[in-house]
């Protein structure tokens, strides 16, 4: 089992490396160079040349890639071209803010999705199932900004002006000190993610409930609650974990719209900003971070899969 997990880990590292290369190449293609972008209208040839030298823009490409990679390995993400400070310092707070948003959304939507999905599966064909399935079908189809705008309209500006529609905190103060500001962005994400988890949970639960061992458990006279908790649920977890992983990864990369909408000071905004500013180091760092989150959550889902499957856990030895 450990070997299996180690192998997954190794693959993940390789994928991350490949992604880093791709990201690096992609940022090279950005029009205009970062030095020019920083200086903007004040660019003079001398200042440009000096800044280029300072930013090692004249080194060969592979050398820049390697030194960047080396920096990544030791947690040095380089200097932000735009602010002149270390990327770590610039992004630290934002990463924290995004994580808070993601965690809040995950903590709410995962149990909610699992519950709704199971409920729906157990009530298959009845009104409760129809309502849950219908609602999740509709919500899953809507783009995030549609949900976000609707929420703002309802809860912030027009009908019930009870919640702030934008996030703002004085510098130095963390966003989570103002919980009311987190409500709408979190809620939007929850509404985005829960339907997928619920639908997947319902599907796997139905499949598991239809399986031979669940029928056998019933024929053994095991009470229904125990059938579901001990015989059905463990088997539904692994496929659902995959979907949860995908959703978490989606949230990490795709919150931009939500952050944009609510002016949430997270990485999504920083990313859009960085691309506009040609702040290559920040773009690279964020891309790698998002890719890393994707890889890590997928790895976790795989581990859940391995742990819930005794065949893999015991190494399949007969």
């Amino acid at each position: 089992m450990t070997q299996l997990i180690l192998r997954r880990l190794a693959t993940s590292v390789l994928i991350l490396l490949a992604v880093s290369l791709l990201v690096f190449i992609a940022t090279l293609l950005l029009p205009g160079d970062p030095a020019q972008a920083i200086l903007g209208q004040q660019a003079t040839p001398e200042r440009l040349a000096a800044l280029r030298e300072q930013m090692h823009l004249n080194d060969p490409v592979w050398q820049r890639y390697l030194s960047w990679l080396g920096g990544l390995a030791v947690g040095n993400f380089g200097m932000s071209a735009a602010s002149g400070g270390a990327v770590t310092a610039l992004l630290g707070e934002r990463i924290g803010a995004s994580l808070v948003l993601l965690l809040a959304a995950a903590v709410i939507s995962i149990p909610l999705g699992l519950l709704l999905g199971s409920y729906s599966a157990l009530r298959k064909g009845r009104a409760g199932d129809h309502i849950t399935t219908g609602a999740s079908l509709v919500l899953a189809a809507l783009p995030e900004f549609v949900i976000g705008i609707s929420l703002i309209t309802v809860f912030s500006t027009t009908i019930f002006p009870i919640l702030p529609s934008v996030t703002m905190a004085p510098p130095g103060e963390a966003v989570w000190n103002y919980p009311s500001q987190l409500v709408l962005p979190t809620f939007t994400l929850v509404l985005m993610v829960t339907p997928y988890i619920a639908r997947m949970m319902r599907a796997t639960m139905l499949e598991v409930l239809d399986s031979g061992y669940v029928e056998m458990a019933r024929l053994k006279g095991v009470p229904e609650g125990q059938v579901i908790l001990r015989h059905a649920l463990p088997h539904a977890l692994s496929p659902v974990a995959q979907v949860i992983a995908i959703q978490l990864a989606w949230m990490a990369g795709g919150v931009v719209v939500v952050e944009f909408l609510f002016r949430y000071p997270g990485i999504g905004q920083a990313l859009v900003d960085a691309v506009a500013n040609r702040d290559v180091q920040v773009v690279q760092t964020l891309s790698i971070l998002i890719a890393a989150v994707y890889i890590v959550v997928n790895l976790l889902a795989d581990v859940v899969g391995i742990l819930t499957n005794p065949k893999l856990r015991t190494g399949g030895a007969r």
Binding site: A37, G172, N277
Partner: protein, 472 residues
Amino acid sequence: MGLSGGGAADSLDAHSPVSTTDIARVLNLYEGLLYRDENYKLQPLLATRATPSPDAKVWTVDLRTDVKFHDGRRMTGRDVAATFKRITDPKSPKTGASSLAILDKVVVLDDFKVEFRLNTPTATFDDSLGQYSLGIVPEDYDPARPIGTGPFKYSSFSPGRSSLFVRNHKYWRNNEPYLDELEILNFNDNDALINALLSTQVDAIGQIPLALLEVIDADPRISILNSETGMWMPFSMRVDRPPFNDNRVRQAFRLVVDREQMIEQVLSGNGRVGNDLYSPFDPGFASHLPQRVQNIQKAKELLAQAGYPNGLSVELVTAPIQAGAVEAAQVFAEQAAAAGIKVKLRKVDTTTFFGDGYLTWDFAQSFWYSRNFLPQVNNSSLTTSPFNETHWNHPEFARLVAKANVTVDAKERNKLISQAQEIEYNEGGYIIWGHPNQADAYQQYVAGLVPSRTGLALSGFEFRRVWLGETK
């Protein structure tokens, strides 16, 4: 205070403000020698007066004696000299350096009197000193420890998000500022900006979309500050490149614009019609020239004469460089179509717009704040100008400007300015269709804000005069 714009590149450097939020910060932390008040009149600030020598080559400035920096030190002439040395440092010139190319050196006469020695006679050097990017800083200035003489002191700052300032108790004006704390927040989205005001998360916001002005005004809790300005958002045609190297084409393009409609559509009526001339507040403004109006027939004729009887097709580079810019481009494209001009819009992001391609676009847009004629020309309309967007190179124009520069007599100077403007009116590469108003909004309980012609938001960011009334 909520302001839109700005990003991770924000800084607190007194002399390198880039974004609107930078300007707002700089204006409250630092002060220059002179400044433009809400009526666009040049007023003394840290100086008590500035007087030119008869040949306009030496300007003597008397300083206030009661000004202290945030750390309690007294401001002296040495600080002034150091400040200008920093700005014009050839190794790292700051924003204001471009208009100070004429400055040879600053001589400290005594603690409160300095002399600006120029290499070229300049009759309007006081105007240059009135720029907001010339805040006086102590000799040992370090942007990491932003110290100035402004009404507010630095407390904390996070680029692209917000900054917090506190009241400067040692401010030289009695009682001011009234506010204990000033927080400037960045918004990169108008929607969020307005929502923040409506949900009373902020007290005032700068630069609201003009289209929403009436609507926001209708809200009883909110007041609107609608200021006429000399700002201009022109289309720029490169006069040295076809098809715009033919003046008939330029004239035709200027004639296809329905300026009234442009104001209506782009600015929701909140602006003044432009006459292809900048600096409307300059005392020498050529107000005698007839207002140019749309004349499709004439435009078509001119195009035909220039060799485009069947119209022509051009590419207009546009970017969200200012609220309304992209919209103006769209309206122009629509209007020009009537004269057989096919305008293809190429929208780029702001960084690209001001990147390598800037100053090379054949047909693009630009945006300028209120300036008087001569400083504006220095910036944009001479071969030596750093931002000569239209590649304007007119010897007679240059001669008139040079003469005006050294003419100390205001009346004489204004006449020269008027003549130079007439040349631009007839041959220039800018299409100046209007001067947008600056509209800000604030909660009713905020007092002390007045309309400002400077084009800077919220009374030119003079938050020292603001106080808060009764909060419900």
